[in-house]
């Protein structure tokens, strides 16, 4: 049998490493009655890292997560989850995956404790271990005080935290979260970030879909950009400015100085002409090293520099580049 997946040459490497865990998806495609939701997505979610799945509304993030969670059959493509081929053994794969949907439906007559105990039961966890685990999770998502009140008294953010706890009851090796931060207050966001970082540090492969880029900047180790159902860019190491993108673009920095005239002259002398904008002057710099060099030279030239910072988040810049102002 020949593989007509010409655009995705069978990468023996990653698939051989599948046993190591995480998510490996190649050429995933999914349509709904002829309309394409996910066209061709390649995605790696390595264990021990938080991977962001970024794309505009309608770019197929939710659909992709449904495929990875074992809820939708892909039309095409191969997916390995936590070392298990999704097609060959969907049940084992489900046992190793935690999924937090973007809708936060919950059994509203049950208490938070019962919700988590029910899910633990559904994953066939031993009863006494489950009870301890439930208590621990309630503590983790700060719902201990509300644990024995029916879930319908919970606020949206609290429900969302319960949803997170529900997704990790069975300590999954792969965690899929669909826009987990929307609707959370700033404190809860910080806590979500810390929780996910801790889960990743303990070896889980975490995939977070979002279009709220500010929160991902501090959360994600890697970023996978999708648009129109296709993987369009991958950035490694986004905590440090982002490297390795398919179109590794130069980055825009915003400078402010006490003396705008001196700054403009110095930039012109250094061959890096700036663009005056509302909050200062923007300069496009190719690499971080070049940025450091530019700072040193400007200071050396006696420019009274006040601030030198990225004009937009690393992810935001890529996002805006690929979005092209176009939404579905």
């Amino acid at each position: 049998m020949t593989a007509p997946v010409s655009s995705h040459p069978p990468p023996a490497g990653p698939f051989a490493a599948a046993a190591a865990g995480g998510v490996l998806a190649r050429g995933v495609r999914r349509t709904f009655r002829g309309s394409v939701a996910v066209d061709a997505v390649d995605l790696d979610v390595p264990p021990g890292q938080v991977t962001a799945l970024i794309g505009p509304n309608g770019s197929g993030k939710t659909t992709l997560l449904l495929v990875l969670a074992g809820l939708l059959v892909p039309d095409a493509g191969a997916v390995t989850v936590a070392g298990v081929d999704l097609r060959a053994d969907p049940v084992t794969a489900r046992a190793r995956v935690g999924w937090m949907p973007d809708v936060h439906g919950t059994w509203d007559s049950l208490t938070s404790r019962e919700v988590l105990a029910t899910v633990a039961d559904a994953y066939r966890m031993p009863r006494d271990a489950a009870a301890a685990r439930v208590g621990e999770l309630l503590e983790l998502v700060h719902l201990t005080e509300l644990a024995d009140r029916p879930a319908h008294v919970l606020s949206r953010g609290q429900k969302q935290r319960l949803g997170l706890a529900r997704a990790i009851v069975h300590s999954p090796a792969v965690l899929l979260l669909d826009e987990p931060a929307s609707g959370l207050d700033p404190r809860s966001r910080v806590e979500l970030r810390d929780t996910l970082r801790a889960l990743a540090a303990s070896g889980a492969a975490v995939l977070v879909s979002s279009h709220v880029l500010a929160e991902l900047d501090e959360l994600a180790d890697r970023a996978v950009f999708v648009a129109h159902g296709r993987t369009v860019d991958v950035r490694e190491d986004v905590q440090r400015g982002g490297t390795g993108g398919a179109a590794a673009t130069a980055r825009r920095y915003r400078l402010r100085a006490l003396d705008d005239g001196a700054l403009a002259r110095a930039l012109a002398d250094l061959g890096a002409p700036g663009t005056p904008v509302a909050g200062g002057t923007d300069v496009v710099v190719a690499t971080e090293a070049a940025a450091a060099d530019l700072v040193a030279r400007l200071v050396g030239a006696g420019v009274p520099l006040v601030s030198f910072a990225p004009a937009a988040g690393a992810l935001e810049q890529v996002y805006l580049d690929l979005d092209d102002g176009e939404r579905r």
Partner: protein
């Protein structure tokens, strides 16, 4: 590994989903079933609406029972110490309980799946290790338990009706057991529709339509198809031979002198072959419950069984199943004794006739199984094609 990729490659047309579709997932465990049942019962029983429904249910049955009791206590209706009052009251209460159960049970299951889907609580169960059968059967058992609670709440009224006398104890038991089974079937049909329909309103309507069809449409079809099984045939009839007889009557209209003799003759007559269509009657839950109830004891005062609706239905469907019988063509007037003897023979034959309810119950259970199978099939993930108008979560 590359073959895996090849298997996952888009098929030539691009539209179809490859062979991952789909071995049915038939896993079923007591633990998984228990998990779903507990979840569903908690979710239902705690909603106060359910307690209100239970209270209304008992109130309505109590009210009707009291009215029936008052009506029969009044001597104006049937005179003092009427014959056959017990079976009549019992029949009415059985019909009441069964009708109410058939009305309420669809509401317990008819939105079990699509309601959960709309509330976003279905997919979180499907991604766990629970199997589609466990989810479907768990929902069925929970709905059934709820309707059994209703039935149990109605049981005292049945026992009261039994205490009105002349009812076989077996009738109370058969009524309770068969009503319980019929309610399970109704729940299963509702569950099936709730999995097939995207919208809760649609599945509720279809469930009610299905139940009404079973109850009333199938007897109606039996009646409407009667002309199709009515054939003109040569049959031997017994009739009085009036040739050469002049009859005279006295002032009060009584015949003077001898009855004309009975003779046999071969005539062309319309014959109703109900033995070909009786099964339409058997589908009705009312027939199932009525046919299974043992006959009330023979009234010692008249030597006849008294008429009551349950026995009426039973005799009707069994006669329909037997089809045309010789005495249907016996047109000779008879003496009281002759009539009683023939009536006894007829009853004996009907009692000896094979029961109809096992067929009806079997057909109903098969429909219920179909509902569960449809639900389990629709609950299996990963989904291939999604039903129009549904989302996964």
């Amino acid at each position: 590994m590359s073959t895996d990729l090849a298997a996952g490659a888009p098929p030539a047309g691009g539209a179809g989903r490859p062979a991952a579709r789909r071995r049915p997932d038939l896993r079923l465990s007591a633990r998984g079933l228990g998990t779903v049942v507990r979840l569903e019962l908690r979710q239902r029983v705690r909603s106060t609406r359910w307690l209100v429904a239970l209270a209304v249910w008992v109130a309505v049955i109590a009210l009707v029972t009291v009215l029936v009791g008052l009506a029969f206590a009044s001597e104006d209706l049937l005179g003092p110490d009427p014959v056959g009052q017990g079976p009549l009251v019992f029949s009415l209460i059985v019909f009441l309980v069964l009708s109410m159960g058939l009305l309420v049970s669809p509401a317990l299951a008819a939105t079990a799946v699509n309601g959960d889907r709309a509330a976003g609580t279905l997919a979180p169960l499907q991604v766990t290790l629970l199997s589609p059968l466990e989810i479907a059967l768990g929902k069925l058992v929970a709905a059934w338990v709820a309707s059994l609670v209703l039935l149990l709440a109605a049981a005292p009224f049945l026992v009261w009706a039994y205490a009105q006398g002349d009812v076989a104890l077996g009738a109370v038991l058969s009524t309770l057991v068969l009503t319980a089974l019929v309610l399970a079937v109704v729940c299963a049909i509702g569950l099936g529709w709730s999995a097939v329909c995207a919208r809760p309103a649609a599945s509720a309507v279809l469930t009610y339509v299905s139940v009404a069809s079973l109850c009333f449409l199938s007897p109606l079809v039996f009646a409407l198809t009667a002309p199709m099984v009515l054939t003109d045939e040569q049959v031997t009839v017994r009739e009085q031979d009036f040739t050469g007889v002049t009859q005279e009557f006295d002032d009060r209209g009584n015949l003077i002198g001898e009855e004309p003799p009975c003779v046999e003759a071969v005539r062309t007559q319309p014959v109703f072959h109900s033995e070909r269509t009786w099964w339409l009657l058997a589908l009705s839950p009312y027939v199932v419950v009525a046919d299974a109830a043992p006959r009330p004891p023979v009234d010692p005062r008249t030597g006849l069984t008294t008429f009551d609706p349950l026995s009426g239905i039973r005799e009707g469907v069994r006669a329909a199943r037997l089809g045309p019988q010789p005495e249907d063509y016996d047109f000779c007037t008879r003496s009281e004794a002759e009539f009683a003897a023939q009536e006894a023979a007829r009853r004996e034959r009907l009692d000896g006739a094979r029961a109809v309810w096992p067929w009806g119950l079997g057909a109903n259970l098969a429909l219920g199984a179909l509902g569960v199978a449809a639900a389990a099939r629709r609950l299996q993930v990963p989904y291939g094609e999604l039903a129009r108008g549904t989302r996964v979560a």
